[in-house]
Amino acid sequence: MGNKQTTFTDEQLEAYQDCTFFTCKEILRLHSRYRELAPHLVPLDYTNNPDIKVPLTLIITMPELKENPFRERIVETFSEDGQGNLSFNDFVDMFSALCETSPRELKTIYAFKIYDFNRDNFICKEDLQKTLNKLTKGELTPEEVALVCDKAIEEADLDGDSKLSFSDFENMISKAPDFLSNFHIRI
């Protein structure tokens, strides 16, 4: 950076470091990654917080997300308008929640949102069906999917309303030691 054009002011960088799990270098790298997605759209100079959003179709071309079956859901979850358009802040937010150091609680919250396809604050059967179809690329037969959904909900549902509330989800996640290492994208 130095005597080249500055991307962020020190103040901004400090705010980012306080609010995310990234160091200042990583923020700058994230910015360059963000800019790569739409070079004509995203300016180098971010000191005046320009209101620019990169659409979902461009975001999911990132190699980190390209092959992920949940890519649209991830991007939608973190976009402020819910359509999948990410501002730089949302972009940073996304990778901050998915980075190695973010705590289990935060990861659980966002994982819940990602799996909650219809956004009704519960993971119900339809959500599970969608998750399963994405996970196995539609290899399971509908009967098998239904069976897995029933069983999974039965296992994790604590209050017997046959859908998973956040507390059910949290309780289930707390028993899965691999969740933390799996719910992690290296940037």
């Binding site: 705010a15 470091q17 306080d18 609010c19 160091t23 200042c24 270098k25 990583e26 980190e64 092959e67 992920n68 949940f70 402020e80 308008d81 819910g82 802040n89 949302d90 937010d93 901050s96 998915l98 919250i109 994982a111 949102k113 909650d116 009704d120 604050n121 519960f122 119900c124 399963l132 996970l135 196995t136 290899e139 399971l140 098998e144 069976l147 897995v148 069983k151 999974a152 909900i153 039965e154 296992e155 604590l158 209050d159 017997g160 046959s162 509330s165 956040f166 949290e170 289930m172 996640i173 028993k175 899965a176 030691p177 969740f179 933390l180 290492s181 799996n182 719910f183 992690h184 290296r186």
Partner: protein, 841 residues
């Protein structure tokens, strides 16, 4: 009797019961305010809801209860087609539940249940706050669409109360934000940062909160007319934070192999990544060891080289393999280190005040100058290095245990598989495909397991299986025993060979051949290490196990058995045969010889790993691709490779006493190994097909590194220090009976020079020399570990109990809801009857 039983929802007791979050959250006192405020809204919103309910239900509303009831509609429809099992047992009640619209009272109770309000999680509260601001903002932008609303799918379930808010929404939101800002402001700087980071808000919102908090802080500071010293403090804190961040980013840039690790994990997922992370951990252990020995042993000795009697030997090239010859008289080995006090220039701060007997050394500094006592330094450096390593190992082991600590209960495996098995790191297309196939297969297996709970095996089958297992184990044990015996005999034979050659003075005739023959034992051992695991795999191939994780454990235990027994035999060979009678093979310095042996073993291990990589992975891939025309690539065997790393590390720990520079060799080896393995894996292997429980395996490997590996090495080193007589003509401990006496002598000298220090000598005599103390120390350590494990066990039990408790609560809730609904129904029919009676009258 149930008829006159009415549920008074405004009853204070009931109200208090419903608002359990307040009680629960006394810990997060900074948030209890928010929660309390939320509960305050309840009364208002409750009233509002009821009105809302009485209005038309399918009005587009953000009220949660409305959504809830709508969902109930859907549920009901669905349940007409497929009956939910859990309701089936109380069919009668189910009918009343399903057949009728939920009564508003039931809905009210349902919506204020703690599980739906999640008052416990502070993150949820914050996110709820965020939801509301988002909604308000959107409303202000006047584009209220359902889609917009529901995206704010932060897991706050109780979305109601918003309509009530709307009258003075602005004010409420502002005050809420103020409260949040106040909370932030009251925290210390590090707490604030931690909390900001963990908030499930968007960065923009967070930085706004942060800005406000900072502004307020500054404002209050300036408002209070703070004295300049606290202003100074404030600036110092800011400067410190600045430097802390730059230090962090510096540290981050030091992180090794960031890109390479990302590529590996992107292609192969967490399982293969764990091997490379383990390698990295070992590298840091060795770096630490190297730093300690380098700074305190190698550097001082290299600055003051001792006088060598005979000239340097010629460098022939074979030394790189054998470590002998040219390298013998260098800082690499024990024998080079001197047993006197190094006098340093007066500015240096060495170790002890100069009061030692200097055995004919350079006395160019007059008395009073600082000096460095080599034997003592040697003794304490090795001791401290082992101690630090031990502490780090135990710490990382306990941390790893904590992370993988789970209650192994069979339930919710399927749900866990669905939600937690996708590895978000993986970015390569074929690996993604493999992973989804893998998950598919696992799900099918689990389903099969669920549907046919357990297939009973006949006794005959069981017996047959047992016999096969027994046979496989017998083969493995017999082979291991044979190999160990072979190593024992062969090393004895080589030892005798050496004795003969030293007697006949053959060494002078053909020194090169003689040196090369030293390589025979390491080659044999490495060959065994390379070939026997293949045989074990063959034996494992004929057994079949129910669970996919058992074969991994079996293979680990067999490999471990082999490596431990081979190392035990070798240790016996070095410490029992060589050290007991060094003159018989013409050695003046057996420590150097053992150090060289360890160097050779380490190097041979490396070379054989390379060969294995070349033949086992590269050529095998070529063969199977070109000749067998198979599309499959070999699978990277994580367990075996990690065990090889552990074996190498044991050698390094064993050798550090005799070869202070062995950690440097190990660092070099690991460094090269990383790149070789990485490129080999990238080129030749495919992602593993079998499921692999990463965190559990990592814990096991760390434990193995600690228990047989490190503990074994430190026992050997301690034994050498305590009870083996060091060589009389070389090394820092010559003229001593044991290495350990270096400390004793030092204490005696101290006492002689300064009688006041006699207490120290007493302490030394009683604490260090007395084996009882060691036993007591080890005993205390074991007791602490035992207590720890007991505590963990207790916690596990408590968690189990709580889990049961939660399940029971769920049952209770179900029961209460049906009961409530039932009472409501009865009430209604009763009033209807009364009404009809009225009308008939």
């Amino acid at each position: 009797m149930a008829l006159n039983h009415t549920f008074d929802l405004n009853h204070p007791l009931l109200e208090a019961g419903l608002e359990s979050p307040v009680n629960e959250d006394t810990v997060h006192d900074s948030f209890s305010q928010l929660i309390a405020e939320q509960s305050d809204n309840e009364g208002l919103s409750d009233a509002f809801e009821l009105q809302q309910l009485q209005r038309d239900l399918d009005e587009e509303g953000q009220d949660n209860v409305v959504r809830l009831s709508r969902r109930r509609h859907d549920d009901r429809d669905r349940r007409k087609h497929q009956r939910n099992e859990e309701w089936e047992d109380d069919e009668r009640q189910t009918d009343t539940l399903m057949g009728e619209q939920w009564s508003s009272d039931t809905l009210k109770v349902l919506s204020s249940m703690p599980s739906r309000t999640i008052g416990r999680s502070r993150g949820a509260i914050i996110s709820q706050y965020y939801n509301r601001t988002m909604q308000l903002r959107r409303r202000r932008q006047s584009r209220p669409s359902i889609r917009d609303f529901s995206r704010s799918a932060r897991p706050s379930i109780r979305g109601y109360g918003i309509e009530a808010d709307i009258t003075d929404a602005e004010g409420v939101e502002v005050s809420k934000r103020d409260r949040l800002v106040n909370n932030l402001q009251n925290l210390s700087v590090s707490d604030r940062v931690r909390m900001l980071r963990a908030m499930p808000l968007s960065v923009a919102e967070k930085s706004e909160l942060r800005r406000l908090a900072l502004q307020k802080e500054r404002h209050s500071h300036s408002g209070r007319r703070i004295p300049c010293c606290s202003q100074l403090k404030y600036y110092i804190i800011i400067a410190l934070r600045h430097s802390w961040y730059s230090w962090l980013s510096f540290l981050h840039s030091l992180q090794l192999w960031q890109v390479a690790l990302k590529r590996v994990s992107g292609r192969f997922g967490t399982a293969v990544l764990s091997y490379f992370l383990f390698l990295k951990t070992l590298l840091f252990f060795n770096l630490l060891l190297f730093l300690v020995t380098g700074v305190f042993l190698v550097l001082p000795q290299a600055v003051h080289p001792p006088l060598l009697l005979d000239g340097r030997r010629r460098f022939s090239g074979l030394e790189l393999l054998t470590g002998a010859g040219y390298f013998s008289d260098t800082v690499m080995y024990y024998g080079y280190y001197c047993n006197y006090t190094l006098h340093r220039s007066c500015r240096d701060n060495g170790g002890e005040p100069n009061m030692s007997v200097s055995n004919g050394t350079r006395l160019d500094c007059v008395l009073g100058h600082l000096s460095y006592k080599m034997p003592l330094a040697y003794f304490f450096t090795i001791g401290v290095a082992f101690f630090i390593t031990c502490i780090i190992l135990v710490y990382s082991m306990s941390k790893s245990f904590g992370q993988s600590f789970t209650i192994d209960k069979s339930h919710s495996i399927l749900a866990m598989k669905v939600f937690c098995s996708w590895d978000f790191k993986v970015i390569k297309k074929t690996s993604v495909k493999l992973m989804s196939e893998n998950i598919f297969i696992q799900l099918k297996e689990l389903l099969a397991e669920v549907s046919y709970k357990s297939v009973q095996n006949t006794t005959c089958q069981k017996l047959g299986r047992l016999m096969v297992h027994g046979l496989a184990w017998a083969i493995c044990i017999a082979n291991t025993a044979a190999c160990v015996f072979g190593v024992c005999r062969f090393s004895e034979y080589m030892h005798q060979n050496l004795q003969q050659s030293s007697r006949a003075d053959l060494a002078a005739k053909n020194p090169l051949l003689n040196e090369a023959s030293l390589l025979a034992v390491p080659v044999l051992v490495s060959l065994i290490n390379l070939l026997l695991p293949g045989l074990f795999n063959l034996a494992a191939w004929m057994e079949d196990y129910d669970s996919p994780s058992v074969p991994t454990y079996v293979s680990i235990s067999r490999n471990l058995m082999l490596k431990v027994s081979v190392l035990a035999v070798l240790c016996y060979h070095w410490l029992g045969r060589v050290a007991a009678d060094p003159e018989s093979i013409g050695l003046t310095c057996w420590e150097t010889f053992v150090g060289q042996e360890l160097y050779r073993f380490l190097l041979m291990d490396f070379i054989f790993i390379l060969l294995d990589t070349l033949f086992g992975e590269f050529l095998w891939r070529l063969f199977s691709e070109k000749v067998l025309k198979r599309r499959r690539k070999p699978v990277f065997d994580i367990a075996r490779n990690v065990l090889e790393l552990i074996y190498g590390q044991t050698l390094a720990w064993l050798g550090v006493l005799f070869t202070p520079l062995l950690p440097a060799v190990q660092i070099l080896k690991l460094f090269l190994l990383f790149y070789i393995k990485k490129s080999s894996v990238m080129m030749n292997c495919q992602a593993p097909r079998k499921p692999y429980r990463v965190s559990q395996m990592t814990t096991i490997f760390i434990t193995l590194l600690c228990f047989p590996s490190f503990l074994g090495a430190s026992v050997c080193v301690t034994y050498t220090m305590w009870s083996i007589t060091p060589s009389t003509s070389c090394g820092p401990f010559r003229e001593l009976k044991t290495m350990f006496q270096a400390g004793k002598r030092w204490v005696e000298e101290l006492q002689k020079d300064n009688p006041n220090l006699s207490a120290l000598a007493m302490a030394h005599a009683y604490l260090v020399e007395n084996p009882l103390f060691l036993f007591v120390g080890a005993g205390i350590f074991l007791i602490v570990i035992y207590f720890h494990s007991q505590v963990v066990d207790g916690q596990r039990k408590i968690i189990n109990l709580l889990q049961e408790h939660i399940e029971n609560e769920g049952e209770d809730k179900k029961f209460l809801i049906t009961r409530l609904q039932f009472i409501h129904e009865q009430n209604r029919t009763h009033t209807r009857r009364v009404k009809s009676q009225d009308s008939s009258c």
